[in-house]
Symmetry: D2
Subunit: 131 residues, 4 copies
Protein backbone atom coordinates (compact mmCIF):
# COMPACT_ATOMS: atom_id res chain seq x y z
CA UNK A 1 0.00 0.00 0.00
CA UNK A 2 1.20 3.48 -0.84
CA UNK A 3 1.91 6.04 1.81
CA UNK A 4 -0.19 9.19 1.51
CA UNK A 5 1.02 12.27 3.33
CA UNK A 6 -1.16 15.38 3.63
CA UNK A 7 0.19 18.87 4.22
CA UNK A 8 -1.95 21.93 5.00
CA UNK A 9 -1.05 25.40 3.83
CA UNK A 10 -2.71 28.83 3.69
CA UNK A 11 -2.06 31.14 0.72
CA UNK A 12 -0.15 34.25 1.80
CA UNK A 13 -0.38 37.87 0.66
CA UNK A 14 3.19 38.09 -0.64
CA UNK A 15 2.59 35.05 -2.86
CA UNK A 16 0.01 36.82 -5.04
CA UNK A 17 0.96 38.09 -8.47
CA UNK A 18 -0.22 41.07 -10.48
CA UNK A 19 -3.51 39.28 -11.30
CA UNK A 20 -4.29 39.05 -7.57
CA UNK A 21 -4.04 35.27 -7.40
CA UNK A 22 -1.29 32.83 -6.56
CA UNK A 23 1.65 33.02 -8.97
CA UNK A 24 2.41 29.85 -11.00
CA UNK A 25 5.81 29.37 -9.42
CA UNK A 26 4.33 29.34 -5.93
CA UNK A 27 2.36 26.17 -6.76
CA UNK A 28 5.71 24.55 -7.51
CA UNK A 29 7.01 25.79 -4.14
CA UNK A 30 3.99 24.28 -2.39
CA UNK A 31 4.51 20.91 -4.08
CA UNK A 32 8.19 21.02 -3.12
CA UNK A 33 7.32 21.89 0.47
CA UNK A 34 4.93 18.91 0.62
CA UNK A 35 7.71 16.61 -0.65
CA UNK A 36 10.06 17.86 2.10
CA UNK A 37 7.26 17.07 4.56
CA UNK A 38 6.86 13.61 3.02
CA UNK A 39 10.57 12.89 3.43
CA UNK A 40 10.48 14.29 6.94
CA UNK A 41 7.43 12.30 8.03
CA UNK A 42 8.99 9.01 6.82
CA UNK A 43 12.39 10.04 8.24
CA UNK A 44 13.97 9.61 4.81
CA UNK A 45 16.50 12.44 5.33
CA UNK A 46 18.26 10.24 7.88
CA UNK A 47 18.64 7.48 5.28
CA UNK A 48 19.74 9.87 2.55
CA UNK A 49 22.33 11.47 4.81
CA UNK A 50 23.62 8.10 6.04
CA UNK A 51 24.33 6.92 2.49
CA UNK A 52 25.44 10.33 1.15
CA UNK A 53 22.80 10.18 -1.59
CA UNK A 54 21.36 13.25 -3.25
CA UNK A 55 17.78 13.26 -4.62
CA UNK A 56 17.55 15.50 -7.71
CA UNK A 57 14.39 16.61 -9.54
CA UNK A 58 14.49 15.74 -13.27
CA UNK A 59 10.87 16.39 -14.33
CA UNK A 60 8.01 18.51 -13.08
CA UNK A 61 4.61 18.54 -14.72
CA UNK A 62 1.95 20.79 -13.20
CA UNK A 63 -1.64 21.08 -14.39
CA UNK A 64 -3.30 24.25 -13.12
CA UNK A 65 -7.04 23.76 -12.71
CA UNK A 66 -8.27 26.53 -10.43
CA UNK A 67 -6.87 29.83 -9.24
CA UNK A 68 -5.81 30.10 -5.61
CA UNK A 69 -6.69 33.28 -3.75
CA UNK A 70 -5.47 35.08 -0.64
CA UNK A 71 -6.04 33.12 2.59
CA UNK A 72 -7.38 30.05 0.75
CA UNK A 73 -6.84 27.01 2.94
CA UNK A 74 -5.30 24.15 1.03
CA UNK A 75 -4.58 20.48 1.56
CA UNK A 76 -1.74 18.96 -0.43
CA UNK A 77 -1.90 15.18 -0.90
CA UNK A 78 1.38 13.46 -1.77
CA UNK A 79 1.82 9.87 -3.00
CA UNK A 80 5.11 8.37 -4.05
CA UNK A 81 5.98 5.32 -6.17
CA UNK A 82 9.08 3.75 -7.69
CA UNK A 83 9.44 3.67 -11.47
CA UNK A 84 13.02 2.52 -11.78
CA UNK A 85 15.32 4.35 -11.71
CA UNK A 86 13.00 7.16 -10.64
CA UNK A 87 11.09 8.05 -7.53
CA UNK A 88 7.81 9.54 -8.79
CA UNK A 89 5.59 11.82 -6.74
CA UNK A 90 1.94 12.35 -7.60
CA UNK A 91 0.47 15.28 -5.74
CA UNK A 92 -2.59 17.46 -5.73
CA UNK A 93 -3.61 20.69 -4.06
CA UNK A 94 -7.21 20.67 -2.87
CA UNK A 95 -9.13 23.66 -1.59
CA UNK A 96 -10.04 22.68 1.97
CA UNK A 97 -13.29 24.64 1.96
CA UNK A 98 -14.73 23.67 -1.44
CA UNK A 99 -13.00 20.30 -1.88
CA UNK A 100 -12.13 21.29 -5.45
CA UNK A 101 -8.69 20.36 -6.80
CA UNK A 102 -6.69 23.48 -7.74
CA UNK A 103 -3.66 21.74 -9.26
CA UNK A 104 -2.01 18.37 -9.86
CA UNK A 105 1.68 17.62 -10.22
CA UNK A 106 3.87 14.71 -11.23
CA UNK A 107 7.51 15.04 -10.22
CA UNK A 108 10.36 12.65 -11.00
CA UNK A 109 13.46 12.44 -8.86
CA UNK A 110 16.64 10.51 -9.44
CA UNK A 111 19.26 9.71 -6.82
CA UNK A 112 22.92 10.59 -7.24
CA UNK A 113 25.68 8.89 -5.27
CA UNK A 114 28.57 10.81 -3.73
CA UNK A 115 30.33 10.91 -7.12
CA UNK A 116 27.18 12.43 -8.69
CA UNK A 117 26.49 9.20 -10.61
CA UNK A 118 22.80 8.34 -11.06
CA UNK A 119 21.76 5.23 -9.12
CA UNK A 120 18.55 3.30 -8.51
CA UNK A 121 16.25 4.38 -5.72
CA UNK A 122 18.06 3.15 -2.58
CA UNK A 123 16.41 -0.05 -1.28
CA UNK A 124 15.83 1.40 2.20
CA UNK A 125 13.85 4.26 0.70
CA UNK A 126 11.92 1.93 -1.60
CA UNK A 127 10.86 -0.06 1.47
CA UNK A 128 9.88 2.96 3.52
CA UNK A 129 7.50 4.34 0.92
CA UNK A 130 5.68 1.00 0.58
CA UNK A 131 5.26 -0.02 4.20
CA UNK B 1 7.81 30.57 -39.88
CA UNK B 2 7.83 30.62 -36.11
CA UNK B 3 9.09 33.57 -34.14
CA UNK B 4 12.03 32.77 -31.89
CA UNK B 5 12.78 35.22 -29.10
CA UNK B 6 15.95 34.92 -27.03
CA UNK B 7 16.36 36.32 -23.54
CA UNK B 8 19.64 36.47 -21.62
CA UNK B 9 19.86 36.08 -17.88
CA UNK B 10 22.59 35.63 -15.25
CA UNK B 11 21.96 33.37 -12.24
CA UNK B 12 21.91 35.40 -9.00
CA UNK B 13 23.14 34.63 -5.50
CA UNK B 14 19.73 34.84 -3.83
CA UNK B 15 18.31 32.28 -6.28
CA UNK B 16 20.51 29.44 -5.01
CA UNK B 17 19.07 26.77 -2.74
CA UNK B 18 20.59 24.75 0.08
CA UNK B 19 22.43 22.55 -2.45
CA UNK B 20 24.25 25.65 -3.79
CA UNK B 21 22.62 25.55 -7.22
CA UNK B 22 19.58 27.18 -8.72
CA UNK B 23 16.32 26.14 -7.04
CA UNK B 24 13.75 24.27 -9.19
CA UNK B 25 11.16 27.01 -8.90
CA UNK B 26 13.58 29.63 -10.23
CA UNK B 27 13.74 27.81 -13.58
CA UNK B 28 9.99 28.28 -13.79
CA UNK B 29 10.47 31.98 -13.01
CA UNK B 30 13.05 32.25 -15.80
CA UNK B 31 10.72 30.61 -18.32
CA UNK B 32 7.92 32.92 -17.24
CA UNK B 33 10.20 35.97 -17.56
CA UNK B 34 11.12 34.89 -21.11
CA UNK B 35 7.42 34.60 -22.00
CA UNK B 36 6.79 38.15 -20.73
CA UNK B 37 9.70 39.25 -22.96
CA UNK B 38 8.18 37.33 -25.89
CA UNK B 39 4.84 39.11 -25.42
CA UNK B 40 6.62 42.42 -24.99
CA UNK B 41 8.81 42.03 -28.09
CA UNK B 42 5.79 41.24 -30.27
CA UNK B 43 3.74 43.96 -28.56
CA UNK B 44 1.09 41.40 -27.63
CA UNK B 45 0.19 43.12 -24.35
CA UNK B 46 -1.35 45.94 -26.36
CA UNK B 47 -3.61 43.44 -28.16
CA UNK B 48 -4.51 41.59 -24.97
CA UNK B 49 -5.37 44.84 -23.19
CA UNK B 50 -7.39 46.16 -26.13
CA UNK B 51 -9.63 43.07 -26.13
CA UNK B 52 -9.69 42.60 -22.36
CA UNK B 53 -8.37 39.05 -22.72
CA UNK B 54 -6.47 37.24 -19.99
CA UNK B 55 -3.86 34.58 -20.84
CA UNK B 56 -3.79 31.87 -18.14
CA UNK B 57 -1.25 29.06 -17.73
CA UNK B 58 -2.90 25.62 -17.63
CA UNK B 59 0.12 23.28 -17.98
CA UNK B 60 3.83 23.51 -17.26
CA UNK B 61 6.23 20.66 -17.96
CA UNK B 62 9.89 21.24 -17.13
CA UNK B 63 12.70 18.78 -17.78
CA UNK B 64 15.79 19.57 -15.72
CA UNK B 65 18.95 18.45 -17.49
CA UNK B 66 21.85 20.31 -15.89
CA UNK B 67 22.32 22.24 -12.69
CA UNK B 68 22.70 26.02 -12.94
CA UNK B 69 25.31 27.68 -10.75
CA UNK B 70 26.00 31.17 -9.43
CA UNK B 71 26.77 33.73 -12.15
CA UNK B 72 26.10 31.23 -14.98
CA UNK B 73 25.18 33.17 -18.10
CA UNK B 74 22.09 31.75 -19.76
CA UNK B 75 20.21 32.17 -23.01
CA UNK B 76 16.52 31.31 -23.00
CA UNK B 77 15.02 30.48 -26.41
CA UNK B 78 11.25 30.79 -26.70
CA UNK B 79 9.06 29.51 -29.55
CA UNK B 80 5.31 29.68 -29.61
CA UNK B 81 2.68 27.78 -31.60
CA UNK B 82 -1.11 27.48 -31.67
CA UNK B 83 -2.68 24.14 -30.73
CA UNK B 84 -6.31 25.14 -30.56
CA UNK B 85 -7.56 26.29 -28.14
CA UNK B 86 -4.11 26.62 -26.57
CA UNK B 87 -1.10 28.82 -27.13
CA UNK B 88 1.89 26.53 -26.52
CA UNK B 89 5.38 27.75 -25.65
CA UNK B 90 8.44 25.58 -26.17
CA UNK B 91 11.46 26.99 -24.40
CA UNK B 92 14.94 25.98 -23.41
CA UNK B 93 17.62 27.42 -21.18
CA UNK B 94 21.11 27.10 -22.66
CA UNK B 95 24.35 27.81 -20.87
CA UNK B 96 25.91 30.63 -22.88
CA UNK B 97 29.48 29.52 -22.16
CA UNK B 98 29.21 25.76 -22.72
CA UNK B 99 26.25 25.71 -25.13
CA UNK B 100 24.72 22.88 -23.11
CA UNK B 101 20.95 22.88 -22.52
CA UNK B 102 20.15 23.12 -18.80
CA UNK B 103 16.37 22.74 -19.02
CA UNK B 104 13.43 22.52 -21.44
CA UNK B 105 9.85 23.57 -20.82
CA UNK B 106 6.49 23.22 -22.54
CA UNK B 107 3.83 25.61 -21.27
CA UNK B 108 0.19 25.78 -22.32
CA UNK B 109 -1.86 28.94 -22.00
CA UNK B 110 -5.52 29.48 -22.58
CA UNK B 111 -7.23 32.82 -23.08
CA UNK B 112 -10.18 33.95 -20.98
CA UNK B 113 -12.55 36.68 -22.07
CA UNK B 114 -13.80 39.38 -19.73
CA UNK B 115 -16.37 36.98 -18.27
CA UNK B 116 -13.59 34.47 -17.55
CA UNK B 117 -14.89 32.13 -20.26
CA UNK B 118 -12.21 30.20 -22.18
CA UNK B 119 -11.91 31.29 -25.81
CA UNK B 120 -9.71 30.39 -28.77
CA UNK B 121 -6.39 32.14 -29.22
CA UNK B 122 -7.40 35.61 -30.50
CA UNK B 123 -6.81 35.85 -34.27
CA UNK B 124 -4.61 38.96 -33.94
CA UNK B 125 -2.28 37.07 -31.62
CA UNK B 126 -2.28 33.99 -33.85
CA UNK B 127 -1.14 36.19 -36.73
CA UNK B 128 1.55 37.99 -34.78
CA UNK B 129 3.30 34.79 -33.67
CA UNK B 130 3.44 33.48 -37.24
CA UNK B 131 4.58 36.53 -39.16
CA UNK C 1 -3.99 49.16 24.87
CA UNK C 2 -2.18 47.95 21.80
CA UNK C 3 -3.41 44.96 19.86
CA UNK C 4 -0.93 42.12 19.64
CA UNK C 5 -1.46 39.54 16.94
CA UNK C 6 0.57 36.34 16.82
CA UNK C 7 1.14 34.28 13.68
CA UNK C 8 2.75 30.85 13.59
CA UNK C 9 4.89 29.66 10.73
CA UNK C 10 7.21 26.73 9.98
CA UNK C 11 10.39 27.29 7.91
CA UNK C 12 10.17 25.45 4.57
CA UNK C 13 12.78 23.66 2.50
CA UNK C 14 12.50 25.91 -0.54
CA UNK C 15 13.14 28.97 1.62
CA UNK C 16 16.71 27.94 2.49
CA UNK C 17 19.64 29.60 0.77
CA UNK C 18 23.08 28.31 -0.21
CA UNK C 19 24.21 28.50 3.45
CA UNK C 20 21.46 26.04 4.42
CA UNK C 21 19.51 28.53 6.52
CA UNK C 22 16.63 30.88 5.83
CA UNK C 23 17.46 33.55 3.25
CA UNK C 24 17.36 37.21 4.42
CA UNK C 25 14.52 38.12 2.10
CA UNK C 26 12.30 35.36 3.51
CA UNK C 27 12.31 37.06 6.93
CA UNK C 28 10.84 40.10 5.18
CA UNK C 29 8.21 37.83 3.60
CA UNK C 30 7.34 36.40 7.02
CA UNK C 31 6.95 39.88 8.52
CA UNK C 32 4.76 40.91 5.58
CA UNK C 33 2.64 37.77 5.96
CA UNK C 34 2.13 38.57 9.64
CA UNK C 35 1.00 42.10 8.76
CA UNK C 36 -1.56 40.69 6.30
CA UNK C 37 -2.79 38.46 9.14
CA UNK C 38 -2.94 41.48 11.45
CA UNK C 39 -5.08 43.39 8.93
CA UNK C 40 -7.21 40.31 8.38
CA UNK C 41 -7.78 39.60 12.08
CA UNK C 42 -8.92 43.18 12.72
CA UNK C 43 -10.94 43.19 9.48
CA UNK C 44 -9.02 46.26 8.25
CA UNK C 45 -9.16 45.22 4.59
CA UNK C 46 -12.89 45.93 4.62
CA UNK C 47 -12.23 49.48 5.84
CA UNK C 48 -9.38 50.04 3.36
CA UNK C 49 -11.50 48.80 0.46
CA UNK C 50 -14.52 50.87 1.50
CA UNK C 51 -12.48 54.10 1.44
CA UNK C 52 -10.33 53.15 -1.55
CA UNK C 53 -7.17 53.70 0.50
CA UNK C 54 -3.87 52.02 -0.28
CA UNK C 55 -1.36 51.23 2.49
CA UNK C 56 2.21 51.51 1.17
CA UNK C 57 5.42 50.46 2.93
CA UNK C 58 7.95 53.32 3.15
CA UNK C 59 10.54 51.90 5.57
CA UNK C 60 11.64 48.45 6.66
CA UNK C 61 14.33 47.88 9.27
CA UNK C 62 15.19 44.28 10.12
CA UNK C 63 17.70 43.18 12.73
CA UNK C 64 18.79 39.58 12.23
CA UNK C 65 19.73 37.97 15.53
CA UNK C 66 19.67 34.21 14.99
CA UNK C 67 19.66 31.96 11.96
CA UNK C 68 16.45 30.07 11.15
CA UNK C 69 16.74 26.45 10.05
CA UNK C 70 14.60 23.96 8.18
CA UNK C 71 11.35 23.05 9.99
CA UNK C 72 11.97 25.57 12.79
CA UNK C 73 8.62 26.51 14.31
CA UNK C 74 8.25 30.24 14.69
CA UNK C 75 5.88 32.67 16.36
CA UNK C 76 5.66 36.16 14.90
CA UNK C 77 4.39 38.86 17.26
CA UNK C 78 3.00 41.99 15.63
CA UNK C 79 2.17 45.29 17.34
CA UNK C 80 1.00 48.39 15.58
CA UNK C 81 0.99 52.07 16.60
CA UNK C 82 0.24 55.44 14.97
CA UNK C 83 3.07 57.92 14.52
CA UNK C 84 1.37 60.47 12.31
CA UNK C 85 1.22 60.29 9.39
CA UNK C 86 2.57 56.72 9.62
CA UNK C 87 1.26 53.39 10.80
CA UNK C 88 4.24 51.69 12.44
CA UNK C 89 4.53 47.95 12.97
CA UNK C 90 6.92 46.47 15.52
CA UNK C 91 7.34 42.76 15.02
CA UNK C 92 9.54 39.93 16.17
CA UNK C 93 10.07 36.34 15.14
CA UNK C 94 10.56 34.01 18.09
CA UNK C 95 11.65 30.40 17.90
CA UNK C 96 8.72 28.49 19.41
CA UNK C 97 10.93 25.73 20.84
CA UNK C 98 13.77 27.77 22.35
CA UNK C 99 11.90 31.04 22.97
CA UNK C 100 14.85 32.93 21.47
CA UNK C 101 14.14 35.92 19.21
CA UNK C 102 15.49 35.33 15.69
CA UNK C 103 14.73 38.75 14.23
CA UNK C 104 13.01 42.09 14.92
CA UNK C 105 11.48 44.47 12.40
CA UNK C 106 10.11 47.98 12.36
CA UNK C 107 7.99 48.80 9.31
CA UNK C 108 6.41 52.14 8.43
CA UNK C 109 3.36 52.38 6.19
CA UNK C 110 1.69 55.44 4.78
CA UNK C 111 -1.81 55.56 3.31
CA UNK C 112 -2.53 56.89 -0.15
CA UNK C 113 -5.97 58.05 -1.24
CA UNK C 114 -7.47 57.16 -4.62
CA UNK C 115 -5.41 59.92 -6.27
CA UNK C 116 -2.23 58.45 -4.74
CA UNK C 117 -1.87 61.43 -2.38
CA UNK C 118 -0.46 60.61 1.06
CA UNK C 119 -3.00 61.02 3.85
CA UNK C 120 -3.09 60.49 7.62
CA UNK C 121 -3.91 57.06 8.99
CA UNK C 122 -7.69 56.80 8.46
CA UNK C 123 -9.50 57.39 11.77
CA UNK C 124 -11.40 54.09 11.55
CA UNK C 125 -8.12 52.21 11.35
CA UNK C 126 -6.57 54.24 14.14
CA UNK C 127 -9.50 53.24 16.35
CA UNK C 128 -9.38 49.57 15.42
CA UNK C 129 -5.74 49.14 16.36
CA UNK C 130 -6.25 50.73 19.79
CA UNK C 131 -9.44 49.05 20.97
CA UNK D 1 38.59 56.46 -1.98
CA UNK D 2 35.58 54.21 -1.79
CA UNK D 3 34.82 51.67 -4.48
CA UNK D 4 31.49 52.17 -6.20
CA UNK D 5 30.05 49.23 -8.10
CA UNK D 6 27.02 49.63 -10.33
CA UNK D 7 24.69 46.79 -11.29
CA UNK D 8 21.93 47.02 -13.89
CA UNK D 9 18.68 45.12 -13.62
CA UNK D 10 15.29 45.07 -15.36
CA UNK D 11 12.12 44.46 -13.34
CA UNK D 12 10.47 41.16 -14.32
CA UNK D 13 6.85 40.12 -14.63
CA UNK D 14 6.98 37.43 -11.94
CA UNK D 15 8.33 39.95 -9.42
CA UNK D 16 5.15 42.05 -9.40
CA UNK D 17 2.71 41.79 -6.53
CA UNK D 18 -1.07 42.11 -6.36
CA UNK D 19 -0.77 45.92 -6.66
CA UNK D 20 0.98 45.50 -10.04
CA UNK D 21 4.31 46.90 -8.88
CA UNK D 22 7.47 45.35 -7.52
CA UNK D 23 6.95 43.56 -4.21
CA UNK D 24 8.85 44.93 -1.16
CA UNK D 25 10.89 41.78 -0.72
CA UNK D 26 12.17 41.95 -4.29
CA UNK D 27 13.95 45.23 -3.52
CA UNK D 28 15.83 43.34 -0.82
CA UNK D 29 16.69 40.65 -3.39
CA UNK D 30 18.00 43.31 -5.78
CA UNK D 31 20.19 44.87 -3.08
CA UNK D 32 21.51 41.41 -2.17
CA UNK D 33 22.23 40.63 -5.82
CA UNK D 34 24.20 43.89 -6.12
CA UNK D 35 26.26 42.95 -3.05
CA UNK D 36 27.10 39.56 -4.61
CA UNK D 37 28.21 41.49 -7.71
CA UNK D 38 30.30 43.84 -5.53
CA UNK D 39 32.06 40.87 -3.91
CA UNK D 40 32.51 39.24 -7.29
CA UNK D 41 33.91 42.35 -8.99
CA UNK D 42 36.52 42.82 -6.23
CA UNK D 43 37.20 39.06 -6.13
CA UNK D 44 36.35 38.98 -2.41
CA UNK D 45 34.88 35.47 -2.55
CA UNK D 46 38.38 34.13 -3.14
CA UNK D 47 39.60 35.82 0.06
CA UNK D 48 36.56 34.72 2.08
CA UNK D 49 36.95 31.12 0.91
CA UNK D 50 40.71 31.10 1.55
CA UNK D 51 40.20 32.13 5.19
CA UNK D 52 37.00 30.15 5.73
CA UNK D 53 35.16 33.29 6.80
CA UNK D 54 31.41 33.69 6.54
CA UNK D 55 29.82 37.13 6.01
CA UNK D 56 26.43 37.34 7.72
CA UNK D 57 23.82 40.09 7.42
CA UNK D 58 22.84 41.56 10.81
CA UNK D 59 20.85 44.67 9.80
CA UNK D 60 18.90 45.77 6.75
CA UNK D 61 17.23 49.16 6.51
CA UNK D 62 15.35 49.94 3.30
CA UNK D 63 13.62 53.23 2.49
CA UNK D 64 11.10 52.86 -0.33
CA UNK D 65 10.75 56.10 -2.27
CA UNK D 66 9.18 55.23 -5.60
CA UNK D 67 7.30 52.24 -6.96
CA UNK D 68 9.06 50.06 -9.55
CA UNK D 69 7.01 48.83 -12.50
CA UNK D 70 7.28 46.06 -15.07
CA UNK D 71 10.30 46.36 -17.39
CA UNK D 72 11.69 49.41 -15.52
CA UNK D 73 15.42 49.56 -16.12
CA UNK D 74 17.33 50.12 -12.91
CA UNK D 75 20.86 50.93 -11.85
CA UNK D 76 21.94 49.84 -8.38
CA UNK D 77 24.87 51.75 -6.88
CA UNK D 78 26.75 50.01 -4.08
CA UNK D 79 29.33 51.57 -1.75
CA UNK D 80 30.96 49.79 1.14
CA UNK D 81 32.74 51.06 4.27
CA UNK D 82 34.17 49.58 7.46
CA UNK D 83 32.55 50.50 10.78
CA UNK D 84 34.32 48.08 13.05
CA UNK D 85 33.42 45.31 13.52
CA UNK D 86 30.92 45.71 10.65
CA UNK D 87 31.13 45.98 6.91
CA UNK D 88 28.43 48.48 5.94
CA UNK D 89 26.88 48.73 2.49
CA UNK D 90 25.10 51.87 1.33
CA UNK D 91 23.11 51.22 -1.82
CA UNK D 92 20.50 52.87 -3.94
CA UNK D 93 18.29 51.81 -6.81
CA UNK D 94 17.93 54.48 -9.49
CA UNK D 95 15.53 54.40 -12.40
CA UNK D 96 17.79 54.47 -15.45
CA UNK D 97 15.28 56.36 -17.58
CA UNK D 98 14.13 59.05 -15.15
CA UNK D 99 17.22 59.18 -12.91
CA UNK D 100 14.94 59.15 -9.87
CA UNK D 101 15.97 57.09 -6.83
CA UNK D 102 13.43 54.35 -6.13
CA UNK D 103 14.95 53.02 -2.88
CA UNK D 104 17.95 53.28 -0.56
CA UNK D 105 19.36 50.60 1.71
CA UNK D 106 21.91 50.35 4.49
CA UNK D 107 23.04 46.81 5.26
CA UNK D 108 25.43 45.68 7.99
CA UNK D 109 27.41 42.47 7.74
CA UNK D 110 29.60 40.80 10.32
CA UNK D 111 32.18 38.12 9.62
CA UNK D 112 32.19 34.78 11.41
CA UNK D 113 35.27 32.57 11.60
CA UNK D 114 35.11 28.82 11.08
CA UNK D 115 33.89 28.35 14.67
CA UNK D 116 31.08 30.84 14.01
CA UNK D 117 32.70 33.42 16.31
CA UNK D 118 32.27 37.06 15.21
CA UNK D 119 35.54 38.67 14.10
CA UNK D 120 36.63 42.03 12.72
CA UNK D 121 36.44 42.65 8.98
CA UNK D 122 39.42 40.67 7.63
CA UNK D 123 42.29 43.06 6.81
CA UNK D 124 42.57 41.81 3.21
CA UNK D 125 38.93 42.72 2.61
CA UNK D 126 39.32 46.08 4.34
CA UNK D 127 42.17 46.88 1.94
CA UNK D 128 40.33 45.73 -1.16
CA UNK D 129 37.32 47.96 -0.58
CA UNK D 130 39.50 51.05 -0.09
CA UNK D 131 41.95 50.73 -2.94
Amino acid sequence: MQKKITTTITARGYELDSYGHLNNAVYLNYFEHARWEFFRTLDLYRIIAAFDHLPVVTDVHIRYQREIRLFDELIIESFCIQEKPYLVFRQKINNKTTGVTAARATTKLIFLDKNKIAIDVPAEIGEMIQQ
